[in-house]
Symmetry: D2
Subunit: 253 residues, 4 copies
């Protein structure tokens, strides 16, 4: 049974900071947001977790393997090197969406995202090492079938982007409401989904749903593991099988 540990990473008071005392150059905000995300990706990724950029001022991470001390260190390091600070909420559970909801509540309970006084809150629970198993995570890695041939080399780059976005928007809603899963676009034509215990049928149904709804054809590799990296890496390998064999759903177990 899956047991996903989810962390909500929220920049403290970011909206006001971006316009105080004056609005800041957009290119600098983009640089700051991207580099902050990249640093968190290294920190969490080096502990075998995954973090998704999401909205950049709010980022969602799968942190099985990270202790509360690790979370505290991340806050301290960011506070030492950036002009902003982070609040973190951590929760766990069989349903990724429920874990994320609990993690969100931890942060909301501490104060508003634009509370001028709330800074560097850290609250929540982690899965202790003895309780971790190889089935804690189930990660699905979707991509668009032959995106390069069908879109990238054919359409203008924005229309290709629209197609990918429509596919993502449809999959994200379906996986969240039908399967309690969290879906994230990660670049190119790739979407990574954090799932509870789903079956092959669930993935075939999701792919069919997206094809019917927006005419975007997906394939998926699925993996399980003790950490987001273990499950996600297995999913990447399963996806290579789809590419090699022309199949649409491959489970790595």
């Amino acid at each position: 049974m899956t047991n996903t540990q989810v962390t909500l990473v929220q920049i403290d008071n970011y909206g006001p900071w971006t316009v105080t005392p004056e609005p800041r150059r957009e290119a600098d905000l983009q640089t700051l947001q991207s580099r902050l995300y990249a640093d968190i990706s290294q920190f969490v990724g080096n502990r075998d977790g995954y973090v998704f950029f999401t909205r950049f001022d709010n980022m969602i991470a799968v942190t099985n393997g990270c202790s509360l001390e690790d979370h505290e260190l991340l806050q301290e390091s960011v506070g030492n090197r950036y002009p902003v600070t982070l609040s973190l909420g951590v929760a766990t559970g069989t349903s990724p969406v429920q874990a994320l909801a609990d993690a969100t509540e931890r942060v909301q309970a501490a104060g508003s995202a634009q509370d001028k006084d709330r800074r560097e809150c850290l609250d929540g629970r982690v899965i202790e090492d003895p309780h971790r198993t190889d089935e804690d995570l189930q990660i699905a890695h979707f991509d668009v079938v032959n995106a390069t041939g069908n879109y990238t080399d054919e359409l203008n780059a924005f229309d290709t982007f629209i197609e990918i976005e429509q596919g993502y928007a449809e999959l994200m809603r379906h996986m969240r409401y039908a399967h309690d899963s969290l879906s994230f676009f990660v670049g190119g034509d790739n979407i990574i989904v954090v799932c509870p215990d789903l079956e092959e049928d669930d993935y075939e149904e999701a792919i069919h749903h997206v094809d019917e709804a927006v005419d975007v054809e997906l394939q998926v590799g699925v993996g399980r593991g003790k950490s987001a990296h273990d499950a996600g890496f297995a999913a990447k390998h399963a996806l290579e099988t789809c590419r090699a064999d022309g199949t649409r759903v491959e489970l790595e177990w």
Copy 2:
């Protein structure tokens, strides 16, 4: 009349590189993509342009003010510091979508995104300094009305994200098909749109359309200028007027 200079930035052979000889750690790919984007944002931004992360392997930039030599230098600098290289196509025109389509064709003509031999192509035309005017760019900066109060402090972080994404997906399609405009989510609840010569009515209609379609309430500040930064910064200031006065559409001229 607007005269937008658009550059398509495409990483050469990225798909194959990410899985050769083996798939690479996802956290490292995310870090690489984000930091590459951040560097391009600084390079283009320091010349008063904007670049949007789009799909990360394909990025769209508004480069009024950047010469072909500047584009060449960007390629050289990235080639010296990253394990990947960039191909660039540049085009200009009154319609942002048309300019982007022409820029895309420049890159596509040079070879596939997954062509194992195509590397560091640079092709296209820029607007020479004497021909630049203060009306070349029209940039609109949308955000969600009271996102913090309505969503961030109330819903779980993924459901907030879904709302923002639905708003973005709807606006992006509407602005592209009705107004030849290019829309980009830039973090938080913000969407920046690169437009041709639009009127106040066009923006009111767009906001109404999104509200009707997905029940997400937007407001917008619009600016014009000689560069993306000039127009975008004016748009940010106009958006502050919306926030201060409770209006929904503010044009900075």
Copy 3:
């Protein structure tokens, strides 16, 4: 008794890479070197170690707390994100210089720094967790007495730099030959030294030696701990005592 774990980090084939097929822009090499160092500093630092930029193509780290698997992960992450790769040698011992010499031999035995075939070698031994103690590290943090008043606000910036460099060059030789210690300039007027079991007299003698030799007046805080961070942080606090009390040598135990 100290037991320092030292890692030599050497970029593979860097000299030839910087000039093949042509010399590369110096500003890009500086950016690459500095960002690579910064990444290693985060990786090692998050595990409570220290890494010093040294010569940038060869960096010396104090890695008590890092396992061989950690070293392997660092190599993999760098290989995924940079156009260069790293070889690592790890060794331990009561003498920091001896540990560093043993670590160097591990890398040299694998091949020349400019061997066109040697890539990503990893060899050596770490101190296993059960064998770690609170006395494994002794770190001294020196700085120049009132550098700002005596130099920075008075001399031109290069002459100030010369003074600091002369002080560093003198201290580095003295600490290496008299005390088997490794000294590193870390910016500003600060020098961090990795020591074996030294006494207060040894530090007073070192300060006196440098003053006599090059007329640069130093003060020092010294700490001990299970990791470079623990010992170094204690040393920083001891240095604050020097600043507050006007003393020249403060030991945090």
Copy 4:
């Protein structure tokens, strides 16, 4: 005749910031310093200038080609993305040391490096475009003859480092006092020197001096140009001639 434009880059109030309210993790300070330097290297380097890390809180740049508006933009961008700010002093002249001294005075006149109120001062003069010539810069690129064979593959990494440092310390003093030049270690076994109009004899004498004083054998390539990049790149090519032909001094003109 050379006409070097030198900028002193000084972080405002850095010493106090690093220990307020408490000392900060050393690894984070190293990361911050290195990434700030890397960003300045990109900004200045993209305008064909050079910046040297020097003491990290004080950095020396050769900024021929950068206007005062460019300097102001650099300050603004850093202020938007870092928890610290920069003060900049700019000056020009036939003597690099004199230009650096004048640049330093500009900053010192604005206030102490640890003045709790001095922030983002910008003062000085640049060389306007019509007055720039191909002889404004003379840059020398020294390295140690066969460093890899004589040191890196033979000695322990710290003793190699000591040799390089002694060579640098000797060259830096000689070039400053005998030739009004500014010398910077840039990694590996490389030293870049910013010179006035020197002759081949001056370089042969400098090499002889260092060999006699500390038994470190150097070779040098020298270039001239309108910018630091132009001159420095020519110097790199000249150094390749030394390597190929076994000579010790090569001038690219």
